[in-house]
């Protein structure tokens, strides 16, 4: 149980358009970014996924009309052979799902759509622990959206977690291993983790990091024989205190990735890539 967490063969990312970096033009009051730096960070991420982790990397081209396009983690919730295409809270972001849908379809995943106009769901409000789902009821995701997650992934318990503040759930916590929850130390993060502890039937160990953003890490298991799983995490100068705390995790190879520039646009590791497995799971 939980051993299915992080199984992946492919990763999907989308390039950084100029419109992301241009600040006000991007809409929704984004700050101006150093485009080159943002693109460099993005390139390094892709490189880690492909070379370090050995995944098949698919890169969707940047689209100027979709400044937040690189944050495609919000456009789908993927588990096993099923991809639920989300309905992002921000109407401006809804067209982002199209390119993602097509790519996932081409990879052979079963696609599930949200038809209900009352539902809002950002993919980074969903945490899969390997054994169950937690969906953050946040500024971005509502009860109806969460319900659709439950309806889509029927094998698993799906619990709702109230998320206070402007964060997504994944901006507060993530998985550090099949039985380990990693969370930030803000009140919002701790509150979320406490809620999850009440809701779950399973015991998890928990690791608290100084920085919320560092808890947005990715536990990945490409499944190469003899190769232990990886934890993709904020590093390379980002959040050094948290980076140190992550050393406590065992049985993972830590892979640091810096994305402090992209973070200014609201990105985290969970939003910058979608991982999936096209191999049949046991």
């Amino acid at each position: 149980p939980g051993e299915g967490l992080g199984r992946c063969s492919h990763a999907l990312i989308r390039g950084v358009p100029e419109s992301l970096a241009s600040g006000e033009d991007a809409g929704a009051g984004l700050p101006a970014l150093d485009l080159a730096k943002a693109q460099r960070e993005h390139g390094v991420l892709g490189g880690k996924l492909r070379q370090r982790l050995g995944l098949q990397l698919l890169e969707l081209p940047p689209e100027e009309s979709l400044p937040l396009g690189p944050l495609l983690g919000d456009t789908a919730v993927i588990q096993g052979d099923t991809a639920l295409i989300t309905r992002p809270w921000s109407p401006a972001r809804r067209p982002e799902v199209d390119g993602v849908r097509k790519a996932l379809q081409d990879l052979g995943l079963r696609i599930v759509e949200i038809g209900d106009e009352n539902a809002t769901l950002d993919g980074t409000d969903v945490l899969f622990t390997g054994r169950e789902f937690f969906v953050g009821l946040s500024k971005w995701t509502n009860h109806r959206g969460a319900e659709i997650v439950a309806d889509t992934f029927r094998d698993f318990a799906v619990s709702t977690v109230p998320v206070s503040g402007p964060s997504h759930l994944r901006g507060l916590c993530g998985m550090g291993g099949p039985r380990t929850v990693v969370a930030g130390s803000s009140e919002a993060a701790q509150k979320a983790v406490r809620a999850m502890a009440v809701l779950t039937d399973h015991p998890y160990a928990s690791l608290t990091l100084p920085d919320d953003a560092a808890a947005d890490c990715l536990f990945l298991r490409p499944g190469l024989p003899g190769v232990p799983p990886f934890l993709l995490h904020r590093g390379g100068g980002d959040l050094p205190n948290s980076q140190e705390a992550l050393q406590k995790l065992s049985d993972v190879t830590l892979v640091p990735v810096s994305c402090s520039e992209l973070e200014k646009a609201g990105a985290g590791l969970s939003s910058l890539c979608l991982v999936l497995s096209t191999r049949p799971h046991s």
């Binding site: 094998d155 799906v158 015991p203």
Partner: protein, 704 residues
Amino acid sequence: MTTETGPDSEVKKAQEEAPQQPEAAAAVTTPVTPAGHGHPEANSNEKHPPQQDTRPAEQSLDMEEKDYSEADGLSERTTPSKAQKSPQKIAKKYKSAICRVTLLDASEYECEVEKHGRGQVLFDLVCEHLNLLEKDYFGLTFCDADSQKNWLDPSKEIKKQIRSSPWNFAFTVKFYPPDPAQLTEDITRYYLCLQLRADIITGRLPCSFVTHALLGSYAVQAELGDYDAEEHVGNYVSELRFAPNQTRELEERIMELHKTYRGMTPGEAEIHFLENAKKLSMYGVDLHHAKDSEGIDIMLGVCANGLLIYRDRLRINRFAWPKILKISYKRSNFYIKIRPGEYEQFESTIGFKLPNHRSAKRLWKVCIEHHTFFRLVSPEPPPKGFLVMGSKFRYSGRTQAQTRQASALIDRPAPFFERSSSKRYTMSRSLDGAEFSRPASVSENHDAGPDGDKREEDGESGGRRSEAEEGEVRTPTKIKELKFLDKPEDVLLKHQASINELKRTLKEPNSKLIHRDRDWERERRLPSSPASPSPKGTPEKANEPVKTETMTVSSLAIRKKIEPEAVLQTRVSAMDNTQENSLKSGKGAAAMIPGPQTVATEIRSLSPIIGKDVLTSTYGATAETLSTSTTTHVTKTVKGGFSETRIEKRIIITGDEDVDQDQALALAIKEAKLQHPDMLVTKAVVYRETDPSPEERDRKPQES
């Protein structure tokens, strides 16, 4: 009692037996045969000569008769003439009713039970017919007048539960074992699989396409055996049912998988089936419709771990059994009182609205039963919340000795059974080739048989601590026994355990209890109200308004005592001060303030009398005492400038036997001491009440 041919010999035998065995009129099992065949009633009753030929009609007539001629029945028994009395008495005892039980493979089983027989009798018959020994996980249901499924209480008369509904039952899994691989016998797993297959088809157990396919493939392997290209041509599974909405795609996937299982025995296939089914989130969750305090439709799910709250398919809250202090119902409302969380001060009470009173009661009962069963069977629950990294605790999960102890009682070669192709699932009977013999190696290597069992019992009555304290657990079968047959012994065990604990505490040299003896004030109040029946004892209808507070789980005990409850109220210190209770809200299951009485006075932490044991003793079917306590803290500034904190603890101990007052008082003191080791007990007031009126009861929490 065996049925014999020849009515005369039977009557004689009955006459002989009757004086010694008033309860001998247990099940009379006969296959449904023409009237007058092998039935003791046939011509023994002088009073009703037409009986012989009209037995079926007479039986139903009998049942009606019973309802309005109870007095007659009684007077019959007291008629002075013995000669006339015996055959009538016998006849009345051996009158039987036909029960129709739908089994898990959708076949019907008919049998007769004595009209006044208890549910256990019928259940035993069915299990015997099914060749099932691990019975604890199963039960019988019947539909009531509202078409709602109810569990047949084994300890009560069938008649009293069924009332006017037809005597039709369904054999069902009641407690879904969290680890089916630990069940001893294949046959038990077989029945569990049948139940789960039904659950899947009805949508009670939702799962993904992949899981439908996987489970379906194992079901096919178990039922049809190895894939055989000659036998299994085309869509050979189309007649079987695997999902609520079965597609061709699903069937093909199932066949694909089935082909890969060659060599897998049915027993193995069923284990694989169960290993996958048990992981599903709704496995073993018994759902009840309800509304929360805001009127939003929710579902309350009762399962091995506790109580789950669902809104649509989403889990919005969860209360693990250890978190729940009290479960009660009143009218159509259902309440749970839960411990304060880690960061909270006060316990809280959460209420839900059920469709009607019966539903509330049903839910309450199901909660109690699940709590009892799984607390005694499951491994020690992992600590609440998440473990902090670096803690020494290791979650060991499934492999707990407790769940294996069940197998210790079973000592027989694996029974030979055929997997009947399920009518529910097929249009026509499929080929049945399941004549495998299974080795007895499935049973665990524990001391099996009666000796092992006895040893266990002896060990416990030897004064060991109650199971909640040492993590010692009784086997499910044993639990059942204790529930229904050994109640006094079990009560004894619990009292023994409490007494032992108490002795230990009192022996402590610095125990302030001893010094404070003199200062205790004792009052006794004489039994107030007349012996109006305790909630336990009365027929449900009459006392429903009264039966609203927490009750001892006597409904699971075999003996209903129509005795007044002894209520022992111990009060330590004198003041009362109410504080606001902070109730949980905002989780979609907001607290429902249950009327004027309770909330304002339920204050601060409620500590169990004997650690974890209170939950068992509060809800365990085996305990006869119920204790609740409330604590209030008052801090006052006293003359001289220092503050004095007084704590009032009100502990209510309810039992249906004479509660040992001294013991209860000592326990109460001890508990208070444990909670507040740096405080002195200054005063103790003891009230003894018998069967308080409902009004009084309601008012109790408000008393100052």
